[in-house]
């Protein structure tokens, strides 16, 4: 755990209660840097990658290869005026705060590429991450209601329906992996894959996890609640400035979290020969991230009824069947 490490260094120089506070502050600053850097960098990757698919250049002007473009955009957002009127102030402001904090908390809970390299370590961290992911329907409904806008309301309803349809499949898949490894803690799950990756003999589970994960974070092609064409931006429509910036950051954090979860649960996390574990983790997570980012640029968006039908008729039964098979496998 990062905190223990920092604390052990700080306590050499400063006496006990103060050292605790100082190391806490250091940790907080570190966490802010890491959680702010990751989404902005992933956002850059997404923009460059989509540009390559669409035969464009993508950002080029700000920084080397346009690396600082997203920082520039976020800075610009800070200066934007707040224009929504007739809103429910509490509901309106509640959502971006919770989206941002819950997304950052997810990053803090997950180990960043090596056992013990996490900011907060709790048992059942996987379940807690899932809870933070699955909090969205409430947020969407609150935001859609608070914005006093019909597009937002319809977007909120759609979002709640979609996420409820898919989060069940996600937790079932999560449970089947936990069943296999006998634990909900990530180091234990990774350790369980030392002989063979779960993704290799549970490919269907991996697929269900990626699909339902994309649906929960509303990544295209599952961005029906946002539907920038018909609903403009769905439940985000009235947000502007840094409130909208929080959503953007939150989106990329969630994409990163899904990629990290896939790596930990199915691709053996930091396990690998020769190279150090962190490097293995980064390579795997980057590949998964690219795969996750791709559908947005090559698929259209299904209709909401098709999406929900797919969730309940195919994904959920498949996930349950999968759970039963895994259970049988474990028992036998």
């Amino acid at each position: 755990m990062i905190f223990d490490y920092v604390y052990s260094i700080v306590s050499r120089f400063v006496f006990s209660p103060l050292s605790y506070i100082i190391s806490f502050i250091i940790i907080a600053i570190l966490a802010v840097i890491v959680t702010a850097f990751i989404p902005v960098f992933i956002g850059w990757v997404d923009r460059k990658y989509s540009a390559r698919i669409q035969s464009r250049y993508g950002p080029v002007y700000v920084g080397p290869f346009g690396l600082l473009q997203n920082f520039a955009d976020l800075t610009k957002m800070l200066g934007k005026r707040f224009i929504a009127t007739n809103i429910d102030v509490l509901a309106f402001n509640f959502t971006p705060i919770v989206v941002a904090t819950s997304s950052f908390a997810m990053l803090l809970l997950l180990p960043l590429g090596a056992p013990g390299l996490e900011f907060i370590s709790i048992p059942y961290s996987l379940l807690f991450v899932y809870t933070l992911l699955a909090i969205s329907p409430l947020l969407l409904l609150v935001a859609g209601w608070g914005e006093n806008n019909k597009y937002a309301l319809i977007g909120g309803f759609r979002g709640a329906a979609q996420i409820i349809s898919y989060e069940l499949a996600l937790i079932i898949v999560l449970s089947s992996v936990a069943l296999l490894s006998g634990s909900y803690s990530i180091p234990a799950i990774v350790a369980g894959q030392s002989s063979i990756w779960y993704g290799l003999y549970l490919p269907v589970t991996l697929l269900i996890f990626i699909i339902s994960g994309l649906a929960i974070i509303e990544r295209e092609p599952f961005d029906v609640p946002e539907a920038s064409q018909e609903l403009q931006a769905g439940w985000k429509v009235e947000y502007s400035g840094i409130r909208y910036g929080f959503f953007l950051i939150g989106d990329y954090v969630r994409v990163t979290v899904i990629a990290m979860l896939v790596t930990y649960l199915f691709l053996g996390g930091w396990l690998g020969p020769v190279l150090p574990g962190v490097l293995w983790f980064i390579i795997k997570a980057a590949i998964v991230l690219m795969i996750i980012l791709t559908p947005r640029w090559i698929f259209g968006r299904p209709r909401i009824d098709q999406l929900i039908k797919f969730g309940w008729n195919w994904l959920l039964p498949l996930a349950i069947l999968n759970l039963i098979l895994v259970e049988l496998f474990v028992v036998l």
Binding site: S55, E230, R303
Partner: protein
Amino acid sequence: MEHKDRIRMNIGPVHPAMHGVLKLILDVEGDTVVKAEPEIGFLHRASEKIAEMRYFSNYYPIMDKLDYVSALNMEILYASTVEKAAGITISERATYMRTIMAEIQRIMSHLIFIGSLGEDFGNLTSFIWALRERELLMTIVEKISGGRLAPMYMCNGGMFYDFPEGIDKDILEALDKIENKVKHEYSAVFTKNQIFLSRTKGIGIMTKDMIKRYGITGPIARASGINRDLRKVSPYLAYDKVDFDVPVEENGDTYSRFIVRLNEILESIKIIRQCLKQLPAGNYKTAVPWIIRIPKKDTFVKQESSRGEMGIFLVTDGSDKPYRLKLRSPTFFAIRALEELLVNVKVADAFVIVASIDPVMGEVDR
């Protein structure tokens, strides 16, 4: 409102998925549209009134801005009308050149349609790809006329300039590229894409009866099994000297409308290739004075524009300006069908259906 669970959505005139400034008033129950009312007129610029104040030669820039996605078709239509009314005959080379320009513009317009249809259900890549192919032809139009979106190339009696040297090579090269993309890449992105198929097949079905009732023409009518193309029915320009097919589909859904336009691109490529091969030497322009006077008469000319049959009813009174110029726009009729088409569809489908009509509001509102 009497229905408690009904929401009235005013979509447009400023809305990212609305083509231009179309406004739709949708009554929505949950995610289903129960009543739809299209509202137009937000781009009304009184083009018909402007015509009464301008010399015949000075109206071309206004024609450009009607259907700004296929501006050359508009110019050719107006030029044909004025020439018919004034009894000006254009050289054979000019008819071929106009045919080539009209078909280049048709391909560009249909590429925009394909892109925006994909874009309207979330596939941004298709839009950018379509624009990439359109850019090839844009460059050629720029080389020929000097303009891009509103080229201002036609004039009474022919064209302002001749084709530049070696342009036929450029055109053929661009056409080869586009044909390759349309035949292979687009079929992979669209016609083999399950999400695309599920979003377009069986959506927004227009029956033959409906087409005839609303007076819809062009690709939309041909997607519903009506085999009518003015280029075949009453050949104008050089269309009777080239060999091409009229793509017709039977189902009348959004997918058929897509396929008809996709095939029309291939047919247009065929036409341009033949025209370039047959392109005769000669004058590109008949000398016509800038200010002409046309005796009192009525002239009605209709041509197949990218969106259907565009017509001009020109009333002249012997002066140097039109006495009355009425524009018959195809999408003006097609948009009215949205009242019926959008009922009982999902909100998401409503936008795909609007995109499949392919309205350009400049031409609807005039």
